[in-house]
Amino acid sequence: MSLLIKDLHVSVVTETGDKPILRGVNLEIRPGEVHAIMGPNGSGKSTLAYSLAGHPKYTITSGAILLDGVDLVGMSVDERARQGLFLAMQYPVEIPGVSVANFLRTAKHAIDGQAPALRTWVKQVNQSLADMALDKEFAARSVNEGFSGGEKKRHEIVQLHLLNPRYAILDETDSGLDIDALRVVSEGVNRYAEAGDRGLLLITHYTRILRYIKPDFVHVFVDGQIVEQGDASLAERLEETGYEAWLGGSDAN
């Protein structure tokens, strides 16, 4: 049982041809583990997140992504999600005219393969909203439309709770959050992880979210590869030294 990424190579289609971004990523996340990937801007961290979720802009040229033994590579975006993968996005997308309530119910129905029981579902939604310091009226708003940066990220964590995936990737969930919102979001992530059988991958640029969510493993990501691994103390070292030591001559952008 694990989310296993094996020698993953990914290219992005550009006007001048395919451009390789990921150059052989190897990573295994077991249930109950919290991993943090840290790296400078342009190192390919978000490409990794999008590639795992199946964004059509990115092409997996070789390698495998095994979720509890099932290869996700040939699967569509929605099939991957139904296998138990969740991506909390750095830039959640606005869907005008589709209410949060309708969206959450449709997603829950799709993930579970059956409609959620109406009575308990509404309670569950309201509880999840309250946990993230969002009021009931939030459910009537259009998905991400007119949300503040903090509301968008809290809404992602509401989904994380309600859909309760086996493996979750959080792509720069800490960016754009003030200190109070960061705490609310971090506590929400910790509640998801405390079940102990969920795998979590945090992608982040800064160490500050790691003060609230303790990683078991920290990976330094540079130029489309993991270049160093360690425990939580590696993040502290990064705080002092930055990425300088690994950046010699990198042409990533």
Binding site: A53, G54, H55, P56, S76, V77, D78, R80, A81, R82, F86, L87, M89, P92, V93, E94, I95, P96, G97, V98, N102, F103, T106, A107, A110, I111, S142, Q159, L163
Partner: protein, 269 residues
């Protein structure tokens, strides 16, 4: 009497047959009256209709024109509307299908302070050409017009034409107007023409604006929905429903009709 009177007129038999070639209806809304009028145009054949509407001072009138033609129908409809002092009109056009449908709405004001809200929803299928035009003549001071038409197109040679012609006369000081047409293109082979025109003959307006768009599904929206396990077909249905949701809410007709329209706009998406 201040209660709302509700009137629903079905212009012709719902059975498929050749319609009357011409139909003329005249509506007068008394001073300070409030009413909703629903005009239903079903059936097939060829049809030419004209509706004249006068709103007296302070009248509030909602008109819902529902084009529920069969796919082979050819129809031309004109609404000529006069809005009295401080009267309020809400006019909604819903065009579900038809081979060639031309729907024209012309508004003039007979006193200051009148307000017109013109809403449109349409869905053009393969080989269907739906035309909507709106003419608004701000010929009185402090009048308002808000125009919002939204349509979806799907199938080979599905076509929409939209013309919005707003004139602000020298006497139309204090005018507030905004017109918008948005089109969602769901497949290859569709064509959209949108022509928002604005002619301003006075500098003293509160607002005068217009916009028109035509676009495909946003891939990022579909990715976001699918990343939550939602199938591509369901994701597209959600986006289309969302596209029409705010305008349908503003039309606010009976639930039955809204269900029917919702079913039509998502059919085959």
């Amino acid at each position: 009497m201040s209660g709302i009177e509700y009137l629903s007129i079905t212009t012709v038999d719902t059975e498929p047959r050749t319609l009357m070639p011409f139909d003329h209806l005249s509506v007068y809304a008394k001073p300070n009256s409030a009413a909703t009028l629903r005009l239903l145009y079903p059936g097939s054949g060829r049809f030419n209709g004209e509706v004249e509407i006068d709103l007296a001072e302070g009248a509030r009138l909602t008109i819902i024109s529902i084009q529920d033609w069969r796919p082979e129908a050819v129809a031309q409809l004109r609404y000529r509307i006069n809005i009295g002092k401080d009267a309020e009109l809400r006019h909604a056009v819903i065009t579900l299908q038809g081979q060639w449908i031309q729907h024209e709405t012309a508004v003039t004001y007979t006193g200051p302070g009148g307000r017109a809200e013109l809403l449109g929803v349409y869905f053009a299928g393969a080989g269907q050409h739906l035309q909507h035009s709106v003419y608004i003549d701000h010929n009185q001071p402090n009048t308002t017009s808000l125009v919002d038409y939204r349509g979806a197109l799907q199938g080979e040679n599905a076509r929409s034409s939209w013309v919005g012609e707003v004139s602000i006369r020298p006497e139309g000081i204090g005018t507030d107007t905004y017109e918008s047409n948005k089109n969602l293109i769901l497949s290859d082979g569709c064509r959209v023409d949108a022509v928002p025109n604005l002619e301003i003959e006075t500098g003293e307006v509160r607002r005068a604006g217009h916009s028109a768009t035509a676009g495909r599904f946003d891939d990022e929206q579909l990715f976001y929905l699918m990343s939550r396990g939602i199938s591509p077909a369901e994701a597209r249905r959600l986006v289309v429903q969302g596209f029409f949701a705010s305008i349908l809410a503003r039309i606010g007709d009976s639930e039955d009709w809204m269900e029917r329209i919702n079913a039509s706009v998502v059919l085959g998406v």
